[in-house]
């Protein structure tokens, strides 16, 4: 992001003004990714406290083993790990590229996170 001089690989020279724009865009998209992370953390905390998981001790004590249910930990944790991973991957891919490509890559990564998060949400609700 902060590379100001063109190098031997022919990367386009990026002046100070467009660097500021890139940083502002990265921060804006970072906030959107961060909100996806907040939603995922909220689910990680709230879903295991839902009624269908809250009474496991009671069910086990009374021999109702069929009602004992384990929260979908893998899906919940994967949903938390997804936004940061996608954000970092998008930054690596968008590194030293033209401004419109940076926007496109960050937007595509945000869309991928949104689609996968909805898939995980549907899965968590379905079990």
């Amino acid at each position: 992001m902060s590379r100001a001089r063109g190098d031997a690989t022919g990367a386009p020279r990026r002046d100070r003004a467009s660097s500021v724009v890139v940083v502002a865009l990265v921060i804006l998209f970072g906030l959107l990714f961060a909100y996806d992370l907040v939603e995922a953390v909220t689910n990680l905390i709230s879903v295991p406290n839902e009624a269908r998981y809250a009474n496991n001790d009671f069910y086990a004590e009374n021999g109702l083993d069929g009602l004992v249910a384990s929260p979908p930990w893998f899906a919940l944790v994967a949903n938390v790990a997804l936004p940061p991973a996608a954000f970092v991957a998008a930054l690596v891919v968008a590194r030293r590229r033209a401004l419109p490509v940076v926007v496109l890559v960050l937007f595509a990564a945000l869309g991928a996170v949104a689609a996968l998060s909805l898939t995980i949400t549907a899965y968590v609700q379905s079990i």
Partner: protein, 145 residues
């Protein structure tokens, strides 16, 4: 075409002759190959090489699959119209659903922009990964119905 022209001698002859550079309707064509033009650099051979038929067909198949993914997410939108405690949270959730609908198209555009056409194998792999990531899985697997 409003400039005056030499008096036409014969309509048929006029139609069949191209005139010369002094003709009022003369327009300069593109520079001839031998003449140095404004951008007379040697073309990058990799850039002008046409895409192979297989790569082109692969682009079409995977691009079409991504388009179908977008259509699938549109049909799923109704399943995710949740309302949260604050309008802020609800608005951002709705925005996320819209972004999920746009995700396949964005992935296609980003792949085309990032991976050069010459590396068609890498491009097709990236598109295939995209199909797997942004596929409307709740619709395909039938969960959350």
């Amino acid at each position: 075409m409003t400039s005056s022209r030499p008096e036409p001698v014969d309509g048929d002859d006029e139609a069949l002759s191209w005139g010369d550079e002094l003709d009022a309707s003369h327009v300069d064509g593109p520079a001839r190959a031998g003449e140095p033009g404004p951008d007379d650099r040697p073309d990058d051979p990799a850039a002008v090489k046409p895409m192979s038929s297989a790569a082109l067909i692969g682009h079409g198949i995977l691009g079409g699959a991504l388009l179908l993914c977008a259509v699938g997410w549109v049909t799923l939108m109704g399943r995710f119209t949740y309302t949260f405690d604050t309008p802020f949270a609800t608005g951002l959730w709705r925005f996320g659903v819209v972004v999920a609908v746009a995700a396949p198209v964005l992935w296609f555009a980003a792949t085309i922009a990032v991976v050069p056409a010459a590396a068609s194998r890498r491009r097709l792999v990236a598109l295939l990964i995209g199909v797997l990531i942004v596929a409307p899985w709740p619709l395909l697997v039938g969960v959350g119905a």
